[in-house]
């Protein structure tokens, strides 16, 4: 549509100018294609919701550096997500025996007080740092069992989650698109080799394999991203992208490019891969979902070598014995769990909505 509108103008322009504006034509085409797809995408309310969730988490990730540099968190090491320590101190008046304790919030008996203030006798005041502190006192979401600020941990981990998801998704897309296109283009034994490999990878449950890897080697976040990317890139994603590449391979423009002397590599990377890419972007979204959940599970079991992550926040609460006590310490349980679930769901919602854009058979009309 756009090109039809512009055609009369293009005819009066001198030839050189048209040649110069080639990138502009491409940009315009890409823009109109984007607008068309955006319209389809925006019809899906759930997809928009997913996009909203992702934007929210982007803001959350930006909140950490902003708050630490200019905001209220610049205050020394109190708000460091890993080594920060801050505990509001509660003063207790010490009385002789347990029977004399009238108000347990401000008084305690001398025997119990020995745990914190050794040698204290009745009449003294004992100051006890409150360690998983409830929200308030400068900590929006309270502190964890080690006295570290939950809100700063949450925002700090968001960045790590995005980085992991990005690495995993990029590796998956590069691997799966290349493997799928090459397998579809050459066929024969190359095809069967990659497809049997994909079957084998699919057969291996990802979580046990990653547990083994992270239990025996030192697995950091970037390494985990690459691992997940490779495993999912050679697995199911490669099969899907191969079938897409197969349908591209039989299109007339491939024959045209071959007749005009294109090499195999040129055909694969200039003609097949660009046509497979929309679908692989879709699978990027699902890979991010997978990577975020897997990271959380592995660090929940304490198998990853990370400074701070959502899974690790829960692991800290779990190993310190605060998770099974009910909702009394809700700030240890809710924020991290909800963050993992929501971010993974956000990418999944967007992926599903993109699926309806890419796959016309799923559309409602």
């Amino acid at each position: 549509m756009v090109t039809q509108e512009k055609r009369p103008e293009a005819e009066v322009e001198p030839v050189e100018q048209i040649v110069e504006a080639l990138w502009r034509v491409r940009l315009r085409l890409a823009w109109s294609g984007f607008k068309r797809n955006w319209k389809l995408f925006a019809e899906n309310k759930i997809g928009l919701m997913g996009l909203g969730i992702i934007i929210f988490f982007v803001l959350l990730a930006l909140a950490y550096p902003v708050m630490r540099t200019w905001g209220p968190w610049q205050d020394g090491t109190i708000y460091d997500p890993v080594i920060g320590y801050d505990a509001p101190v509660e003063d207790f008046e010490i009385v002789e025996t347990e029977a004399e304790v009238l108000d347990p919030d401000t008084q305690m008996d001398a025997f119990t007080a020995q745990l914190w203030c050794f040698g204290a006798v009745a009449g003294d005041t004992c100051s006890i740092p409150l360690q998983p502190a409830p929200p308030g006192n400068g900590h929006i979401l309270g502190t964890d069992p080690l006295g570290r600020d939950i809100a700063s941990q949450l925002t700090f981990s968001t960045r790590a989650a995005f980085m992991l998801g990005l690495i995993a998704a990029l590796v998956t897309v590069v691997v799966a698109t290349t493997v799928g296109s090459i397998a579809a283009f050459y066929g024969g034994w190359i095809d069967s080799f990659f497809m049997r490999l994909a079957d084998l990878v699919l057969l291996m449950p990802l979580i046990p394999i990653l547990i083994v890897m992270s239990g025996l080697w030192e697995v950091t976040l970037p390494r985990l991203g690459v691992l997940i990317g490779i495993l999912s890139g050679f697995g199911g994603t490669a099969i899907v992208l191969k079938s897409q590449a197969l349908s591209v391979k039989v299109k007339p423009f491939i024959d045209a490019a071959r007749v005009s002397g294109g090499s195999n590599m040129h055909l694969i990377f200039k003609h097949i891969v660009p046509n497979v890419l929309p679908l692989s972007f879709l699978y990027m979204m699902f890979t991010v979902t997978e990577a975020v959940s897997l990271e959380a599970v592995l660090s929940f079991f304490g198998l990853l070598n990370v400074n701070m992550s959502w899974g690790l926040m829960l692991q800290t609460a779990q190993t310190q014995g605060y998770l099974r006590t009910g909702l009394e310490f809700w700030w240890l349980l809710i924020p991290a769990g909800v963050a993992v679930t929501l971010l993974a769901a956000g990418f999944f919602f967007v992926g599903r909505a993109m699926d309806e854009v890419v796959n016309p058979r799923l559309r409602s009309r």
């Binding site: 759930i46 599970v297 079991f301 998770l323 099974r324």
Partner: protein, 387 residues
């Protein structure tokens, strides 16, 4: 059909060997071995070398690989480091039934529920209820699973007190028990399998009826005889009953939690597959002929939408197995998943390989079962393999 199964079995065997080889190299590449990890560090070097020679650890990777493979195929998986004198096969054999129980139950529950809900979801596309169920389905699918399990424990065990917090049985009850846990468990699985077969037979015969009335009667007879069988089976074992109910009581929450998470994936998949099926011409034809809506949904659309869902079972398998590991760990259910995790954390390599190999076997067998099921469901494949 038999030839098909035979061919698949041979393929499976070689695939398993490949899988085992991969596992071996994966674990062989990890730093250190038994001679450097578990022994007194002050042992003289020559004794260490002697030990390595006796255990066959001094050879090349390939000779170690050959040793391991031949040992594995003759049923010798080595000794557990952690529970020292016991063999790995012994440790694994104790755990297998518990995991199979959890896995089978959660899988069946999630597929039945997910399929039933997914087809209804696709049918009333666009409504508010559809959005609500889809969103909660995705949230269940992407939920941080260990966290979800803990929330379930908080609600149903700590809060409402309906179920035990964790574990496989109540130790106080079993202190003077005349049976071991696995004996009772074996009987439970046996009775459940037979009852399940009766139900499957009932639904198979009722599906073959053209009329609605006899189909319903046959289905009711199926339910009735399954219940009757269970009653008679457990009436004959009065002394075992309290122990069985104790195990059952412990198993409900893990099974339901795992099924809830796995079910969401099946539901979303059924919805997608059903939406594609509803675009087919034969649905339009059926609507034009005036076939009742419910028949179009259940007989024309859902049966065809079932095929891709069945194939996807293999993809969902890894999900359920992974979920099983988390479930077992969070609920302290002493199965293979918990075994895998503890053996990895304590670097008990023989047990770790054994547990992983079992996971591979489980995946392969389920894969085969799905292939057979697929051939039964899809006449086109049956005809191809029949000739």
């Amino acid at each position: 059909m038999l030839r098909f199964i035979g061919r698949r079995l041979v393929q499976m065997f070689f695939l398993f060997l490949l899988f085992l080889t991969l596992l071996f190299f994966l674990l062989d590449a990890q730093p250190g071995d038994i001679t450097s990890q578990f022994l007194d560090p002050t042992i003289p070097a020559e004794i260490r070398a002697q030990l390595a020679e006796r255990l066959g650890l001094d050879g090349s990777v390939w000779s170690r690989w050959w040793n391991y493979m031949t040992n594995f195929l003759t049923g010798n998986l080595g000794l557990s480091f952690q529970q020292y004198p016991r063999t790995v096969t012994d440790v694994i054999a104790e755990r297998i039934p518990r995991t199979l129980f959890l896995f089978t139950f959660a899988t069946l529950l999630s597929y039945v529920l997910g399929f039933a809900l997914g087809k209804r979801l696709a049918w009333r596309r666009g409504g508010f209820s559809e959005h609500a169920v889809t969103i909660s389905g995705v949230l269940l699918y992407t939920v941080f699973y260990p966290w979800f399990a803990i929330i379930m424990i908080l609600i149903f065990s700590s809060g409402l007190g309906w179920f035990p917090i964790n574990g496989f049985l109540t130790p106080e009850l079993w202190r003077n028990a005349p049976f071991t846990g696995n004996e009772v468990f074996g009987q439970m699985i046996l009775s459940l399998v037979i009852a399940g077969l009766i139900l499957v037979a009932g639904s198979y015969f009722s599906r073959r009826q053209q009329e609605r009335r006899p189909a319903q009667i046959i289905r009711l007879v199926g339910y009735g005889s399954a219940i009757l069988f269970m009653t008679i089976f457990w009436a004959l074992k009065p002394e075992m009953r309290p122990f069985a109910s104790n195990i059952l009581h412990h198993s409900i929450l893990p099974v339901v939690t795992l099924a809830l998470v796995a079910f969401a994936g099946v539901m979303l998949l059924t919805r997608g597959s059903m939406l594609e099926t509803l675009k087919e011409d034969y649905i339009l034809t059926a609507q034009a002929k005036g076939v009742p809506e419910r028949d179009i949904r259940d007989k024309h659309a859902a049966r065809n939408a079932l095929l891709p869902v069945t194939t996807s079972f293999v993809l969902g398998l890894a999900f359920i197995i992974g979920g099983g590991i988390i479930t077992e760990t969070v609920f302290s259910w002493p199965g293979m998943g918990a075994l895998l995790l503890t053996s990895i954390v304590s670097e008990d390599i023989p047990v770790a390989i054994g547990a992983l190999a079992f996971t591979g076997v489980l995946a392969l067998v389920a894969h085969l079962l799905v292939d057979i099921l697929y051939a039964v469901l899809d006449p086109r494949i049956r005809i191809q393999t029949g000739n």
